[in-house]
């Protein structure tokens, strides 16, 4: 009994030191000079621009990775492409590779001084050091979430219902919308939400491909970092709190989705 209490206290202490205290620190830091100062920092052009850019990048990343995540998951689960095993491993690559390296890799392929990047630039399309590159970096980093959520669900679902629907005359498209999607929607939403929270907080990959130019390619996390470097802690705390609060909201949503999903699968 005693050792149990000891263990519990240790866990709580650990939790406090690692998560609760730093989070409280941000909230306190953001409001230490009052709500007016918080608001003042919030409406700074750099802060507003960074947050707006981050949300835009996140929206793009979620939209694209939801669609492609579903496609990739269908291929892996259906085992109907050659090399689905390889695909299955590649999808996890972003978990294994540091985001900074991912960003660097993108520069090496699509940067202005490369074959592809140069070609695109000649046709006035700028990928790197611009928003499209930041979206690409975020896409890379968040690729696994939707896929990893869907593959087990699709595997469990099997082919039976899809085949049944086909013999009843339903087109592939209809089978997807009426049979496959309704059964995986909660898992899809869960994966999409994970993608959102990861995309909001992405730093390394985005830093490398953006160049962090103020009011041009400086997203919220980059703004926080820049402010810290500049010693402008109030600005850093303010934007951090907004990001953290958004993530907390998503966390609550995730909890709700998780429950729905468990009901749907029981």
């Amino acid at each position: 009994m005693k050792s149990k209490i000891g263990l519990f206290s240790f866990v709580y202490l650990w939790f406090l030191a690692l998560i609760a205290l730093p989070l409280t620190g941000i909230a306190v830091g953001a409001f230490r000079k009052g709500a007016m100062e918080f608001f003042h920092e919030f409406v700074q052009p750099g802060a507003l621009f960074g947050l707006k850019l981050t949300f835009e990048i996140t929206a793009c990343a979620v939209a694209i990775n939801t669609v492609f995540g579903v496609l990739i998951a269908l291929q892996i689960a259906g085992k109907n492409v050659r090399g689905w095993r390889v695909l299955n491993v590649i999808v996890d690559l972003p978990f294994a590779v540091s985001p900074v390296i991912a960003g660097l890799a993108l520069i090496l392929v699509y940067g202005p001084n490369t074959l592809i990047g140069g070609f695109l630039q000649n046709h006035s399309m700028k990928l790197m050091f611009a928003m499209p590159g930041m979206v690409m970096a975020t896409l890379f980093v968040t690729l696994p979430f939707v896929v990893r959520e869907l593959v087990p669900v699709l595997r469990e679902m099997g082919n039976g219902e899809q085949e049944a629907a086909m013999t009843l005359g339903a087109s592939t498209w209809r089978v997807f919308w009426r049979i496959t999607l309704p059964q995986m929607k909660w898992s899809l939403l869960y994966g999409a939400m994970l993608t959102v929270s990861r995309a909001l907080g992405e730093f390394g990959a985005v830093l490398v491909v953006s160049g962090s130019v103020v009011l041009l390619t400086q997203s919220a996390t980059l703004y926080v970092y820049q402010s810290t470097v500049n010693g402008d802690m109030q600005a850093a705390y303010t934007v951090s709190l907004v990001l953290a609060a958004t993530s907390f909201l998503i966390l609550c949503l995730l909890e709700g989705i998780k429950r729905r999903r468990e009901v749907a699968h029981s």
Partner: protein, 346 residues
Amino acid sequence: MSIEVKNIVKTFANDSVALDNVSFTVGEGKLIGFLGPSGSGKTTLLRIIAGLERQSSGQVFISGRPVDDIPPQKRGVGVVFQNYALFKHMTVADNIAFGLKVQKRNAKEIHDRVAQLLDLTHLSAFASRYPRQLSGGEAQRVALARALAPEPTVLLLDEPFAAIDTKVRRELREWVRQIHDKIGVTSIFVTHDQEEALEIADRVLVINQGKVEQFGTPEEIYNAPTSLFVADFVGEANHFRGTSQAGKLTIGPLSLGVADVSDGEELDVVVRPADIKMREITSQSDIVGEIVRLSYRGNSYLVEVKLENGMRVYTYAPKESRPLYTGQQTALDIMDYKLFQGEVPV
């Protein structure tokens, strides 16, 4: 509608042969059973007819029309899957209505047809339930109603009763036969249960290792098997092997006439338990054995008799026959038997 299957061959990527030159024709309105051990290729054959799998070569015709390039959506084939494959997120009524909605029938028509099928399958009380709230037998009936709803020209059932307990299974298969007779849709069902196949099918296609062993009425399959496999697989059977000598085949104490076979041939003998009669020992020349086991079968006993040379023979004894007990000595008369040389009947 009639179904014609011509020289179907199916090989898988690893070069294993699932179906080897399968041909047969099913007349309109018939109920056909595909019977074979698991892995014999019967389900693959069904899936090829449904269009869910593509044959390596050969052709399938439905009412005279080649359907090989027609996708499953357009074949007009209703399928009842082994594990029902009901749409988990839809109610029973929505499951049944699915095929009708695909056909874009009007709401009134869909409603009436669903009600009609719920009634036919005795499911009216379950219309708003979800598949997870159904028993195996109920789910099976929903699957059947769903497959029948769009009025398919052909109905295919893959091991339709495999996952249902014995009593319900018996009721259900009789009921499927009744529904079939009522609607008259040409139907094929796959089974590994010979009792099931013999009981409800008009004709049975026996498949083994991707080849058709025999295609005939249940009576033909049972009484006149055209291969050793069919004789052994369908019905209970005693199976012996011996060498012919002077027009006789002697296996232990058994001596069977084999007039048309030259000496020294290896022969297989299949004897149905029903073709072996037990009686009291009356003479020195009787085939004599000892009863070693009696299994109660409701209206008869399955009797295991050990012959003098240690060979085991199975026979039936009616319940009201003279009292039997293990250890009892009995004489056996072999009334009928079937001879095979290799796989071919003699």
